[in-house]
Symmetry: C2
Subunit: 178 residues, 2 copies
C-alpha cells in the first residue's frame, strides 16, 4: 500500500524457530529406551524412521497438552529474529490449527522466548495464504501459492529438495537478510 512500508517477513515456528525434532527424539528415546540418529532422517519424515507399529507415536506426542510449550528454541533464532524485527515487519505464521491444544501453548512459548513479537503479528492457520514479501519455512507446501521470496529452512525431511533458495541455520538468514 504505502511505498515506504517495511518489507513483511512471515516466519514459520516448528523446525524453524522451535526445535520440534529435538523434542520428538528426547521423548521417543526416553519412552522407548532406544537411540535415534538424526542421520537416519536424511530426506525423511521422523515417523518414517520409526518401527511401523510406532509410526503414530509422533502424532500422539503432538496432541499431548504441553508438547509445544516446552520446545527448545532453535539456536540463533532469538538474536536474528530480534534484529529482523528492527528492519522488517516480522510475522510469525504457524500451521497450528490442526492441533487444538497447541494454540495456547504456542502463544505462551512465543511470549516467553520472543516477547518483542506483538500479538498483532502472530498468525495461527492451516494453509498460509499470506500477503508478505519473504517467507521462511521448512515445508515447501507453504510456498505453493506464496508470491514473495521463499527461503527454505533446512530440516532433515527437506534435505533432498533442490528447487528453492535454502538457509541452513539462523546465521545464514542473517547473512541474507540483515
Amino acid at each position: 500500500m504505502s511505498i515506504n512500508r517495511k518489507l513483511r517477513i512471515a516466519i514459520d515456528m516448528d523446525e524453524v524457530m522451535a526445535d520440534t525434532i529435538a523434542e520428538f527424539i528426547t521423548l521417543y528415546e526416553s519412552r522407548h529406551q532406544t537411540k535415534i540418529s538424526l542421520g537416519d532422517m536424511h530426506g525423511k519424515e521422523f515417523r518414517e524412521i520409526l518401527p511401523p507399529h510406532l509410526s503414530s507415536t509422533l502424532k500422539q506426542y503432538i496432541n499431548e497438552k504441553g508438547f509445544f510449550r516446552h520446545l527448545p528454541v532453535m539456536p540463533g533464532s532469538q538474536e536474528v529474529i530480534k534484529a529482523l524485527h528492527e528492519k522488517y515487519d516480522v510475522y510469525i505464521a504457524s500451521a497450528a490449527m490442526e492441533f487444538k491444544h497447541s494454540l495456547e501453548d504456542k502463544l505462551d512459548w512465543l511470549n516467553e522466548h520472543f516477547p518483542f513479537i506483538s500479538w498483532t503479528n502472530i498468525i495461527f492457520c492451516g494453509h498460509k495464504i499470506l500477503d508478505a514479501d519473504i517467507m521462511i519455512d521448512d515445508r515447501i507446501k507453504n510456498f505453493v501459492t506464496f508470491k514473495g521470496r521463499k527461503l527454505l529452512y533446512t530440516s532433515p525431511h527437506n534435505l533432498l529438495i533442490n528447487d528453492f533458495e535454502r538457509v541452513n541455520n539462523w546465521d545464514e538468514v542473517a547473512i541474507k537478510l540483515l
Copy 2:
C-alpha cells in the same frame, strides 16, 4: 497461481458470523439490571454507550473463558457460507490473538456451527495480512493493506462509514457473491 483456482474469500468471525454484540447486551443487562438499546450504538462502539465507570466491562467479558464458545450465530450465515464454500475457497479469519482464551473457544464454536470448514481454512491472527480475493469484515482497519475486494459487513459501530461496498446482512452477501 493456477488460473483455474477458485477465488478466495476471507470471512471475519465477530459481528459477521457470530453475534458478539447480542451476547454483550445479554450479559450486560443480566449483570447490571438495565436495558441497552441497539439504537444508542449508531456509529459507536459498545463501550461508548456504557456509563464511564463500566466502560471496561466489555474487555472483562471478552477475557472470560467461554465467552466466545456460546455466541449466537449470525442469522443466515450458516446457509450462505455453506453455499459460498461450494463456489469459492472460503477462509475464516479472526483477529483472535489478542485474547488467548478465545482461541480454543473460537475453534470449538466453528467446528460446531460451521463443521464443513476445514482446519486448513481457519486463520487466527492479529493484523490480517491475507492474500485473498474478497474480504468480508466489519472493521475497516482490516482493509487497509488488503488488495482484494472489500465488503464492509454492517455493525452498529461502522454505520457512519461510507467509503466501502457494504453488506447489511447475509442475504445481501448471497445476492452479491452467489
